[in-house]
Every structure is written in structure tokens, then in C-alpha cells.
Symmetry: C2
Subunit: 301 residues, 2 copies
């Protein structure tokens, strides 16, 4: 990436989540010129302070950008301004059309809405992931498939003909954190231990058993009690159990194209877990966010 802060560029792309704020300046052709990340998620922004935080973090870039486009929790009720959810099935055009301009902003800022859906009688929502999904479609050329975004609340979105038909969220990252830090397992689990592939895949395989996560989590305790699972391998085994429980619930079928989008470490684990289920996948990182925001910015004016 070349630093060329003196040259104007068309897009300042912002992904503003609950716990982090990331931005990139992006050229007309979609090239990411530079990116930055800060621990200034919306929970760390005082009421009425969004524009000030944006300028503090990206003021220099903002002056030179034609557009500023924001995705993520900044568009939630607790964020900068609420951008109401776009209901599924939803394509790129519906999402672009429902962007919300921030009134009274010093320079124009548009916020991308999240998606909502109703599946098997349950509502579901995402904010920020929709941009990554549409970005992944751009990058992979896939218009049909499963787009999986691992995280605190993982998302499994089903796309057909370039439209998100529906999706399901799983409280996987949050439950892993609770079990590893606050449950009886925390007493023996070593959070500093390196990732252990064998223990992880053992956990994924165990999670296929119908007795369920509540039983298997206790089983992890019993395994350590009997010296059959080392404290240094417990974190990886538990990660396999929880991600495995998510996969068991999401039940992807072999043959469906699966695209994993997220951090390298996390998508690598999911790819491995999917392998145990006999499902192939491909992986994307932050480039999906920037590709999605860039594509949306082309319809901005």
C-alpha cells in the first residue's frame, strides 16, 4: 500500500462496530490505499460525540475524500444515527437505496443499514456483516452460496442470485468467552496455551454427538479431571466444541460453496471445523468490508 495523503481520493470507508473502529481510504478503482484501526467502538463514544471521534481518528483523510460511507453498529439505535434494517430477501440495490445520510454533518456521511430476516419463526439481525457479504460476492464472483462470518455473534447467510435470502446468528464467540473465562472450566483452562489442532478437531468431532453442548462442556471438565485432556489443550478442545455446536446447528451441506469472512485466525478454525464435516470453504478478510463499501459508494450520488 502506498501512502499518498496529498492526493484526493473518492472514498473514506468506515466499519464502526461495537468495540472497534476501522477505516480505509479507497481509490476510484477500489484499491485500498491505506487503513487504520482503533479501539473506539460505539460503546466508547459519548452521546453526540460520533463526528468528533470520526474526525479525531480519520480527520486528515476525511478532508480529501469525496464520500464517507459507514457500516456497522454506528447505524444502530445506540449508534450515531439509526439506519433501519433492510428486510431480507435483500440485494445490493436495496441496501444501497436505504443508506441514511447523517443530518448536519460537517462533510457528507452516509450510513449503511443492517439486514433483518425472519427464519423458522425467529427474527434475526446483522449490522456490518451485510457489507462484507456483498463485498465477498464482488471478490469471489459468487452469487449463490453460504457466507459465514464467525465472531461474537456468528452469522450464516444464504445467498441466491446475488441476494441474501435469510441468515441465522449464533452466540458462539460470546459463549466461548463465558465458558472459558467464567465457568468451572476456567479453573483449569490455560488461555495462554498455543492452539492445538488435534484437541480442536477432537472437540469439533465430539460436538457432532447429539447430547449437545451443555453435556459436552461438562465432558471437557470430566476429561481434565481424569487426566485425559491436558489443561494446555482445554482451550482448543472447548473452541472445537463450541464452533462444532454452531456447525451442527447450521448444518451446511457438502457441495454448497462456503465463504468464510473474518480474521485469519478465526476463519482458519472454521475452515478446519468445516473440513471435519466434509465441507470445503474459502476464506476472506478485511478486504471484503472494503470491497463492499466501495461497491456501495459507486451508487452514492
Amino acid at each position: 500500500m502506498t501512502s499518498c495523503a496529498a492526493t484526493p481520493f473518492p472514498l473514506l470507508a468506515i466499519d464502526w462496530g461495537t468495540s472497534s473502529l476501522r477505516g480505509a481510504r479507497i481509490a476510484a478503482d477500489g484499491q485500498v490505499l491505506e487503513q487504520r484501526g482503533l479501539a473506539r467502538g460505539i460503546l466508547q463514544v459519548p452521546a453526540g460525540g460520533f463526528e468528533a471521534v470520526l474526525d479525531e481518528a480519520f480527520g486528515d483523510w476525511r478532508e480529501q475524500a469525496t464520500h464517507c460511507l459507514v457500516s456497522g453498529m454506528a447505524g444502530s439505535r445506540q449508534g450515531w444515527i439509526e439506519a433501519p434494517y433492510c428486510p431480507c430477501p435483500a440485494g445490493f440495490d436495496e441496501l444501497a437505496a436505504r443508506r441514511v445520510w447523517v443530518p448536519g454533518a460537517r462533510r457528507p456521511v452516509a450510513i449503511v443499514p443492517g439486514l433483518s430476516c425472519e427464519q423458522d419463526g425467529l427474527p434475526d439481525v446483522m449490522r456490518g456483516e451485510e457489507v462484507q457479504i456483498f463485498g465477498a460476492m464482488q471478490l469471489t464472483g459468487l452469487a449463490d452460496g453460504l457466507f459465514v462470518l464467525p465472531g461474537t455473534h456468528s452469522k450464516w447467510a444464504r445467498a441466491e442470485a446475488g441476494r441474501v435470502q435469510g441468515f441465522r446468528s449464533f452466540m458462539t464467540g460470546e459463549v466461548y468467552a463465558l465458558l472459558s473465562q467464567h465457568s468451572i472450566l476456567a479453573r483449569t483452562l490455560n488461555p495462554e496455551a498455543p492452539f492445538d489442532d488435534a484437541a480442536f478437531t477432537q472437540g469439533v468431532a465430539r460436538a457432532r454427538d447429539a447430547a449437545g453442548l451443555l453435556h459436552h462442556a461438562f465432558g471437557a471438565r470430566a476429561l481434565t479431571l481424569f487426566g485425559r485432556l491436558d489443561a494446555d489443550r482445554l482451550a482448543s478442545y472447548l473452541s472445537g466444541l463450541v464452533i462444532g455446536a454452531e456447525l451442527h446447528g447450521a448444518a451446511p451441506t457438502a457441495g454448497t460453496p462456503v465463504v468464510l469472512i473474518g480474521s485469519d485466525a478465526l476463519t482458519a478454525r472454521y475452515a478446519r471445523a468445516l473440513e471435519v464435516h466434509g465441507v470445503a470453504s474459502r476464506r476472506l478478510g478485511a478486504e471484503a468490508t472494503w470491497a463492499g463499501l466501495h461497491a456501495l459508494s459507486l451508487s452514492l450520488d
Copy 2:
């Protein structure tokens, strides 16, 4: 119950768990003369301090009892003295034979071992519940059936011909506490709200869906977000989801006799959840512990 502290009686029965200490003085015929409970679980006992705490709590009774029999976590490695697990299948006689006398005690104290088993390639353990199970067999006359002990780590034990064949633990109570107090659900959940039967059974029914607890827990969040589940009903719904996930994993079949043993409030919820699954059950409380310890005391010498 009549208080008759001046009359000698044969058994001081003690159930010493992780977070509580309960005791009863029991007549030769098994009648519970009096009982007491204290928040002095083994985690609140300093090293080497078990006899002092016992005397502090039950010293008056101890002087008059012929025997003192202790079940629960007091027999664990972190407890008073380790009483090694009795492996399943195990009947009443094996359990009685494996009691461990505390060496050097001021007056004789015997500790009942827990049970261990191996099921579907996973080890499992219980301490304290085995006494309740054998007590429940005495009280109900059932030698075959499922004995279910709801709690922090619920137990489902399968008995045949008066012997525990095997069992499975579920981290249900602990996961409910983590989700209701520390997850994103804690932000809206009202822990003071009264139990709501309709929300609870709705959660139990939802838990039968194959997508699993990780999805349904997020679904609870989405339901409140869309105003379709009131904050005052969230705790009951979540309780239904988690207990329902346990039932889904334990998969009891209609026709098997099911005995629920535990607190009135908790066994009532499980009975209701089992009803949703079309499974009838009967309920027992603390009397199962005292009946079990009394029966075991008869073989003490």
C-alpha cells in the same frame, strides 16, 4: 418435625456440597427428626478446617448420634478427605462398601464416594447425587428408570434392577447463570420478574428446533429487540431454552419412568418441560438425600 435434642438418635446425615452444608438428625426408622442448612460449602472451608466447621454447625447433634455419614463434595480432592469414585454400573451395596472413614476424627465420620462412568467415550462424575438416587429408589420403590437431578450440573442417571448403569451431566444451571448475568441478554433481562409459564414453555418448544442453543440464545435477543418478547418474560424464556436444550440432548423417551429430584422450584420447571416433550415425571425433594443416607447408614457396622 419434633425437636427432641435430648434424645440420642442413630444418624447425623450430612450433605456437604460446593456451596452449601445441610444436615439432618434421623431416627432408627428413617424418620427425619430435624434438619438445618448453612451457606458453608466446601469452598468456604479453610484447609484442615472441616471437622471444626462440622462441629460449629452440628456439634450439638453430633454428640448424640451413633453415626455421622457425609455425602457430596466433602469427599472430593478439594474436600475433607477423598473418597474415590465408585465406577458404574454400581448398586447400593458397592456404594456402601466403598465408604471412607475419616482418620483421626473426634467422633467417627464416614464419607460416601461419588459415582463415575464412561458413556459414549466420555467420562462423567457425580458426588452427592448418587445418595439422592438410591434414596429415591427407596422412596418410590422404583428399581428401573431415569433419575434426573437438575442443578448447576444436572445429572441424568439410568437405573436398571436397582443399579445405576450410567449417567450424563449437563452444565445447564451454570450456562443459564452465565447467559442471564453476563451475556448480551443480561442488558435487558429482568432477574426479579416472576416466573412466566407461557414464556418458559415457548422456550422449551423452541429448543426442540435443531439449530441449537447458540442460535436460540441469540434469537432471544432478537425477539426482545423487535418487541416480541418482553424484558419481564426473557428470564423464563431463556430458562426454557436452556432446560429445553438439556432435554433435547438427554432425549428421554415417553414411557420410561422419570423421577426428578431437587428443589421444588426447579423440579417443577423440569416436570413442565418434560410435559412439553410428552414425558410424565414424579418429583422428590430433600427427603431423597435423607432416605439415601439413612439406608446407607444401616450397613455402617
